[in-house]
Amino acid sequence: MALYSEKVMEHFRCPRNVGVIENADGIGEVGNAKCGDIMKMYLKIDNDIITDVKFETFGCGSAIASSSMATELIKGKPVSEALALTNKAVAEALDGLPEVKMHCSVLAEEAIKNAIEDYYAKRKEK
C-alpha cells in the first residue's frame, strides 16, 4: 500500500489555492517547531463569508495536502463554519492520513483558526 491515499497525492501534486492574498483580512501562521512544518493561511472575508483563501506551506506531502484540502473546505463558507472545521474533517476529506501524519491536519485547523483570530483582532482595531 502506498504511504498516502490517492486524494492526498492529488492535492499534494496539484495543491488548490496556493499563494498569497495581498491585503488579506486575516493571516494565520502556525508551525510545529519540532518537526519543522510551517503553514501560512491568507483569508479575504466579506460580510462574514470567506470569499477567498490562499496558503503557503513548508512541509511534507501530507502537510501540503492538508493545507490544500482545508482551503477548499472553507472557501465560500461563513466564518463560523470555518471556525468549526476540525482536523479530523480535513483528514477524512483526504480519505485519511497515516497516524504519524495526523499532526499535519492539526496544523491546517490551527492555521485557519489563527487567521480568523487575526481577522477579528484587525476588525477590533478598526
Binding site: 497525492m9 499534494f12 501534486r13 495543491p15 496556493v18 499563494g19 498569497v20 501562521e29 510545529n32 519540532k34 518537526c35 519543522g36 512544518d37 510551517i38 503553514m39 501560512k40 496558503f55 503557503e56 506551506t57 513548508f58 512541509g59 511534507c60 506531502g61 502537510a63 501540503i64 504519524v100
Partner: protein, 394 residues
C-alpha cells in the same frame, strides 16, 4: 525508473542470483546433515566463507555469517563489552554519526552501566584520529567507528584509528556496511579487529551479512541453539543467501576499480549540477567520500515533498527529513555536522549505482532543480528568506 537509493539497498546481481538458484531449487539439504546431499550445502557455505575471507584479507575462520549488518554490529559490540566487563573495562568510544544498529546497542550498554564517549565529527563528518587517541583510557574496551557514513558518504580514517587502537591494546570495530564491496578494504592493513557487512548493500541478497572477528576475539552469541558457525551463531545457515553474498562480493571486488571510477565521475557531475541550485550545500566531505554518494541540503523546502515529487518523475531517492524518519527529528547525522533543524529538513540523498548513465545523471540534476523551485514557490520559509525577514543559512 532511475534507482538512486543504493545506500538503502541494491539490485541483486545476475551473478549472485545464478549462484543462489541451485540452493533454492535442487540443493536444499541442511549443511548440518551427515549425508552427502547435506554436505554439498556445507561445502558451498565453506567455499563462500573462503571467498569472502579472501576479499577481506583474513582467514575463513574469522568470518561468521549473520542475518545482516545490524546483527553483526550488535554481536561485535556486545561481545567486546562482555570481554571488557570480565576485565573490569567498561568504557567504549564511538561517534555521533553511527548507524542506529550501533547507537542503540551502545545505549543499551549505557543502561547496563557502560560509559560511552560519543566523539563529535567535523563539519564534513570526519572523526579525528587524534580525538580517538585522546579519549582512550585504561578502562576503554572498545572503539567502534563506521568505515563510511550511510547518509553523507564520508569515509573515516579507519586505518589510522585502527593503528592507534592496536598500539593502545583496545579492540577496534568498524561498521563497514556501506564500504564493503565499494572501497578497497583489507582488515589486516586497516588494523581492524571486528567488521560488520551486509550483502544487500553490494548487490547480494537481503537477510545475509557477516561479521569478521579477528582470531582471539571471543564472540558472544546473540542467538543460542545449534552449533552452526562454530557455536557462535545458531540456526540453520541461509545457504543460498551466503552463496549469493560471496558471489556478489567477489564480483564487486573484482570490478571495484572500474565501478568506482565511473561512479566517482558521475557523482561529481551530479554534485556540480546540484551546486548550481541557489542556497544549497553539499553534505559530507568532497574528497573522502563514497563514490556513489551525493547528499545536499536545499534551504526553504522539506525533504519528504521533494522525494514524493522526484518519485513522480521516476527517481528513487532518500532524505534525512524528520517527515521521512517516523520521528519528529531530522537526521542525527545532519545535525551532527552542524546543519540546523530547518536546513536538515530539506536534505536529499542520492546514492547512484553502476547502471546509471550520464543522461540519467543530467536528468536527475534537471528534475531536482525543477522540484526544488516548485516547492520553494509556495514555501512560507522561502518567502521569508527572499524577502529578508529571515536570514539565509546556506
Amino acid at each position: 525508473m532511475i534507482y538512486a537509493d543504493n545506500a538503502a539497498t541494491t539490485k541483486l546481481s545476475r551473478t549472485a542470483l545464478n549462484a543462489m538458484l541451485p540452493f533454492l531449487e535442487e540443493l536444499y539439504g541442511n549443511p548440518s546433515s551427515l549425508y552427502a546431499f547435506g554436505q554439498k550445502a556445507k561445502d558451498a557455505v565453506e567455499l563462500a566463507r573462503e571467498n569472502i575471507a579472501r576479499c577481506m584479507g583474513c582467514s575463513p575462520r574469522e568470518i561468521i555469517f549473520t542475518s545482516g549488518g545490524s546483527e553483526a554490529d550488535n554481536q561485535a559490540i556486545l561481545s567486546a563489552a562482555a570481554i571488557g566487563r570480565k576485565r573490569g573495562k567498561t568504557h567504549i568510544i564511538s561517534d555521533t554519526i553511527e548507524h542506529h544498529a550501533v547507537l542503540h546497542t551502545l545505549k543499551k550498554l549505557e543502561k547496563e552501566g557502560f560509559e560511552v564517549t560519543y566523539l563529535p565529527v567535523d563539519k564534513n563528518g570526519l572523526v579525528r584520529a587524534a580525538d580517538v587517541a585522546a579519549a582512550i583510557k585504561d578502562s576503554t574496551c572498545l572503539v567502534t567507528i563506521m568505515y563510511a557514513n550511510n547518509e553523507i558518504g564520508t569515509i573515516e580514517p579507519i586505518k589510522e584509528i585502527g593503528e592507534l587502537c592496536r598500539k593502545r591494546g583496545v579492540l577496534f570495530h568498524t561498521d563497514a556496511v556501506q564500504a564493503v564491496g565499494h572501497l578497497p578494504i583489507n582488515v589486516e592493513n586497516d588494523n581492524i579487529d571486528m567488521l560488520s557487512a551486509s550483502a544487500h548493500k553490494f548487490h547480494g541478497p537481503k537477510g545475509t551479512g557477516f561479521l569478521y572477528a579477528k582470531k582471539g576475539v571471543a564472540l558472544q552469541n546473540l542467538i543460542e541453539g545449534g552449533a552452526q558457525e562454530r557455536g557462535k551463531r545458531a540456526g540453520t545457515e541461509n545457504v543460498a543467501g551466503i552463496v549469493g553474498m560471496a558471489a556478489s562480493l567477489s564480483e564487486a571486488v573484482e570490478n571495484m576499480e572500474s565501478t568506482s571510477k565511473k561512479l566517482t565521475a558521475l557523482r561529481d557531475r551530479i554534485i556540480k549540477g546540484l551546486s548550481q541550485i541557489s542556497h544549497s550545500a553539499l553534505n559530507g566531505d568532497e574528497r573522502m567520500r563514497l563514490p556513489s554518494n551525493v547528499n545536499f541540503c536545499f534551504e526553504g523546502i522539506e525533504g519528504e515533498s521533494l522525494l514524493l515529487l522526484l518519485d513522480d518523475k521516476g527517481i528513487c531517492a532518500s532524505s534525512g527529513s524528520a517527515c521521512t524518519s517516523g520521528s519528529l527529528d531530522p537526521s542525527h547525522v545532519l545535525l551532527s555536522i552542524g546543519r540546523v533543524h530547518d536546513v536538515a529538513h530539506g536534505s536529499l540523498r542520492l546514492s547512484i549505482g553502476e547502471d546509471i548513465t550520464e543522461e540519467q545523471a543530467d536528468y536527475i540534476i534537471k528534475a531536482v532543480g525543477e522540484v526544488v523551485s516548485h516547492l520553494r514557490g509556495f514555501s512560507p520559509v522561502w518567502r521569508d528568506l527572499i524577502s529578508g525577514k529571515r536570514e539565509f543559512i546556506l
